[in-house]
């Protein structure tokens, strides 16, 4: 009986200490210039933000940046429910609006743009060289799911080119995010997918078929400090860093375009 009791008490203490420390960090954090920053970011930003995080940590000793990547829509819901995000970087204005309503944002700025691109396996089994080729019967196309920015942008693009009716019957899967679309095409399971140009910058094993600017949709990426962040100043300097020249250089290396002017 006794050892069990000791263990139980130990567990209970651990839980209490954990609760206590997490609640205290909320007040103490903002006074400290260094510290831990949690950034929720669209999964298309993964490669660029990992690099920017490393650079930012090097420029601000004592700072740790932790990233949570995922679908912007999912992340927006998590920001409100979990309250652990200091910064939110979204692939769409819609997801940012969700966070702006609850819990609110400051220092919001558009920091990058992205375009859509068609991808195929390197051997291009279905012969896709233009947007129009996606209408060929039997082309197995994967898109991001509805409600996921990359999926919504792709649908918007098809719609604006009046291709929805012909292309949608070729869709074989609606994937949870752009990384999954790339994975399905890379594996040779699907004949084609629609993702962001930034998705294929670092991805060997897929072939990109560019969509002319006149037919394309421009995705604008907003970033902001989340209201209620325990590290407001640090979060604001991270936002500045991403939107600044160093951040922009890294983002452009990864295939992102400059933010919309004006």
């Amino acid at each position: 009986m006794k050892p069990l009791r000791v263990i139980s008490v130990a567990i209970a203490m651990t839980v209490l200490v954990a609760c206590a420390s997490s609640s205290s960090s909320g007040t103490a954090g903002s006074a400290n210039p260094g510290g831990e920053l949690t950034v929720f970011a669209a999964s298309s930003l993964t490669a660029a933000f990992n690099q920017i995080g490393t650079d930012f940590e090097a420029a601000n000793p004592g700072t740790t940046v932790t990233f949570n990547y995922g679908s912007s829509t999912d992340l927006a819901a998590q920001v409100a429910s979990e309250g652990t995000a200091d910064v939110f970087a979204s692939a769409s204005a819609t997801a940012m609006e969700t966070v702006a309503k609850d819990p609110g944002v400051r220092n919001r700025t558009d920091f990058a743009t992205n375009q859509l691109v068609i991808i195929t396996p390197t051997d291009d089994p279905a012969g896709v060289s233009t947007l129009q080729d996606l209408t060929k019967p039997g082309v197995q196309l994967v898109l991001g799911a509805e409600g996921v920015p990359v999926g919504d942008y792709a649908r918007q693009m098809l719609d604006e080119n009046k291709l929805t009716d012909e292309v949608m019957p070729n869709v074989v899967s609606n994937e949870p995010d752009d990384a999954s679309v790339v994975a399905k095409v890379q594996a040779g399971e699907a004949d084609a997918g629609i993702v962001y140009t930034s998705d294929i910058e670092n991805n060997a094993g897929v072939r990109g078929v560019s969509i002319p600017t006149t037919q394309n949709v421009i995705a604008t990426y907003p970033i902001a400090v989340v209201t209620g962040s325990a590290h407001t100043d640090l979060a604001a300097s991270f936002v500045d860093y991403v939107a600044g020249s160093q951040g922009e250089a890294t983002l452009q290396q990864d295939g992102f375009g400059p933010p919309p002017s004006g």
Binding site: A12, A145, V171, V172, S173, N174, P176, G188, E189
Partner: protein, 260 residues
Amino acid sequence: MHRRLPPLSIVLGAIGAAFVALPVLGLALRAPWGRIVEILTGPGAGTALQLSLEVSLLATLCSVVFGVPLAWILARGTFRGRATLRALVILPLVLPPVVAGVGLLEALGRSGVVGSWLERIVGIQLTFHTAGAVVAATFVSIPLVVLSAEAGFRSLDPRFEHAAAVLGAKPGYTLRRVILPMVGPQLVAGAVLAWARALGEFGATITFAGNLEGRTQTVPLAVFQRLQTDREGAIALSLVLVAVSICVLVALRDRITGTG
């Protein structure tokens, strides 16, 4: 026998119970009860429910057809590597489903080890088709049939088989007319558990079979997708799976709770 329980264990136990009950309670409290019938009979939900039923029943059938003979081999066979074979068969039970999905892609996908051959020669593609969802669900549920059936076969006295053999029954006849009827309850329990597991399958399905309404989008995938756009719809569909799970527990209560 009624013993006094130490207060601390009551407290910790209560926390444990609350922890398990809370998510279900959360679903029930946040459910759009007023619209639930409307949501569940709506076009998307109805398609997912029907597809889930088809996929899970076919997966259960496959698990029984291949799993019961496998259990018989494991229970009665004497060959080297039997323990290894059993471990292999149980593996899907502990394997993360997404890993199962990746494995299925590499094996049975269009460019997979066997899948490329399947497509070239037989003209069958599993990925992005309902058959792929059935394969994924079968993969994760077959161990439950094997485990349950093997336990049943092992609890049988081999003298019944000997008696049948002495009386001139062929092995196949003995299996069908003597053994299977005696282990019926275990087989049913295994099949029901396999069905419940197949019904809830998510990771292997979305990784291997993809996510398309009416073809591979089963209820768990529909829940996942609706979370993006329609939280109430996701909760309503989740409740269907909760209800089914509770029914399975009730049906198997003696077998699972054990002490009764």
